[in-house]
């Protein structure tokens, strides 16, 4: 039964994606909607991304500094570890998990609300390909904007690490910067952007899917919104592992 249900949803999800990426009725309308979504998803999420990122960097640096203790590992390693852990894992994964909560639930509720208030039916009757008009701009906007947010997140996390270790005097400015410059592997930045783009696609497409097929009333809309976040989060973690396997 569970397997049947999963296969049914997978098939419907793939069909919805196929419909979503069909030819737009009017390019200018889709362009305008994509820009609007970039503003909503990108600019609307900057503050929360900045907030979590600075704490991620601070916590990572403080805990690593504590573990180093009086060991023989040079203290400039704090900068190196904060940089790598942020770029490889924390910035793309934690940011996208948080965005699944903020953006994903919002998208599911927005599209689900449109379904319940017959807005989607109204567009269908006008002749609009609703899957394409409502979903494609959101996915494109997210795939473009979320990697930018992740890059900002990585940068701010590194600054957070600096603030929490250099300012209290745990290590010096020179040591932290030396750590940041040591053992740099450009491939990790590529991996960060791959993760960010894949996670962005997952969290928007899954959330739109949950909203698009919502039925019933406010309870079902709430459940769709919750499912959007939970399923997106699980898929982000699964794909995090798969990308790590493929790219390391």
């Amino acid at each position: 039964m569970v397997v049947d249900n999963m296969l049914y949803n997978l098939g419907r999800y793939v069909n919805l994606l196929r419909d979503s990426f069909s030819r737009p009725e009017k390019f200018s309308m889709y362009y305008k909607e994509t820009m609007r979504q970039m503003d909503a998803i990108g600019v609307g999420s900057v503050f929360i991304v900045l907030l979590i990122s600075v704490f991620i960097g601070m916590v990572t640096a403080v805990q690593f500094a504590d573990q180093l203790g009086d060991s023989f590992v040079p203290s400039y390693y704090i900068g190196y570890i904060v940089r790598d852990i942020t770029i490889i894992e924390m910035a793309p994964t934690i940011t996208c998990l948080v965005l699944a909560g903020k953006v994903g639930s919002n998208l599911a509720a927005e599209i689900g609300g449109m379904r319940q208030k017959e807005h989607i039916d109204a567009m269908e009757i006008m002749g609009v390909n609703t899957a394409a008009y409502l979903i494609m701009p959101k996915i494109i906007a997210a795939v473009v904007v979320i990697p930018m947010l992740v890059a900002i997140s990585a940068f701010v996390s590194i600054i957070g690490g600096y603030l929490s270790t250099v300012i209290p005097g745990t290590i010096s400015h020179t040591e932290y910067v030396l750590g940041l410059r040591s053992f740099f592997v450009p491939r990790y930045v590529f991996m960060m952007f791959v993760k960010a783009a894949v996670f962005a696609f997952l969290l928007t497409s899954v959330s739109c899917y949950m909203g698009y097929y919502v039925k019933g009333g406010s309870i079902e809309l709430g459940q769709a919104s919750t499912s959007a976040v939970v399923v997106s989060d699980v898929l982000i973690l699964v794909f995090d592992f798969l990308i790590a396997l493929l790219l390391t």
């Binding site: 009725e25 009017k26 017959e118 109204a122 009757i125 002749g127």
Partner: protein, 258 residues
């Protein structure tokens, strides 16, 4: 004209529509009536193509709706206007933007031409000057009129109205009915109205289809409603003693006049 041939729709084991064959005419308000659960909304959604029938056909003039490709179906839908029970106006857009939306999506008109057409449509429904207000800033009756204006903006050949009077006071209901009737006759549109409202039936019912338990049980016009001895029709339309008395008085007056 829209016609159906032996239209059946089931949801699982539940057969909601049991072989409806009928015609809806151009230039007349066609009313679908029936008690709750009779299958009115399902019939309307089948006619629009939002549901696919279990069996049977829907013809728009001579075109079989369910044999069309998605692209041809969209072409037909561009000739369709729909007024929803809950209006379905987009909350994030102003009244003007709501009416302009189909033109933005499907035409190559300039902004000036589109705004001129929006003004014409608002004038048609007696709502000039509300372009910049949001749907939440106008009354329920005004929202209905905006819905009609949006439905009419691309000059449709077919107009569907799902319970256009629900939630409106009797006076506003009559105004909305008159507006729909006037637009239908003036533009020779095939208008199909799904309603519970007996004022509408007796006021604008040029072609009335009565559904009961998924079957078409009576078809006629508002004059025939008064004279028909169909017990199903009388039980539905003149359900209250007050309405039954009104009918008897009307018939007495007519016979006295004859």
């Amino acid at each position: 004209m829209i016609r159906t041939e032996n239209l059946v729709k089931s949801f699982g084991e539940n057969e909601v529509l049991k072989g409806v064959t009928t015609e809806f005419y151009a230039g007349k308000p066609n009313l679908i009536i029936g008690s709750s659960g009779a299958g009115k909304t399902v019939l309307l959604k089948l006619l629009i193509g939002l549901f696919e029938p279990t069996s049977g056909k829907v013809f728009y003039d001579d075109t079989d709706l369910f044999s069309l490709s998605d692209e041809r179906l969209r072409e037909i839908r561009m000739k369709v206007g729909m007024l929803f029970q809950g209006n379905a106006l987009f909350d994030s857009m102003t009244v003007g933007e709501n009416i302009r939306f189909p033109m933005d999506m499907f035409t190559k008109m300039t902004l000036r031409e589109k705004e001129k057409r929006v003004d014409e449509c608002l004038e048609m429904v007696n709502m000039e000057g509300v372009n910049d207000r949001y749907p939440s800033e106008v009354s329920g009756g005004m929202q209905k009129r905006v819905g009609i204006a949006r439905a009419m903006v691309l000059e449709p050949k077919y107009l569907f109205c799902d319970e256009p009077n629900s939630g409106l006071d009797p006076k506003t209901s009559i105004l909305i009915d008159e507006l729909i009737c006037d637009l239908t006759k003036r533009n020779n549109i095939t208008t199909i109205i799904n309603t519970h409202d007996m004022n509408s039936v007796m006021g604008i019912g040029d072609n009335i289809v009565l559904l009961k338990d998924g079957n078409l049980v009576w078809q006629g016009n508002k004059t025939q409603v008064l004279e028909s001895d169909s017990s199903v029709l009388q039980d539905f339309i003149f359900a209250s003693p007050f309405l039954r008395r009104l009918r008897e008085d009307a018939l007495k007056q007519r016979h006295a006049h004859d």
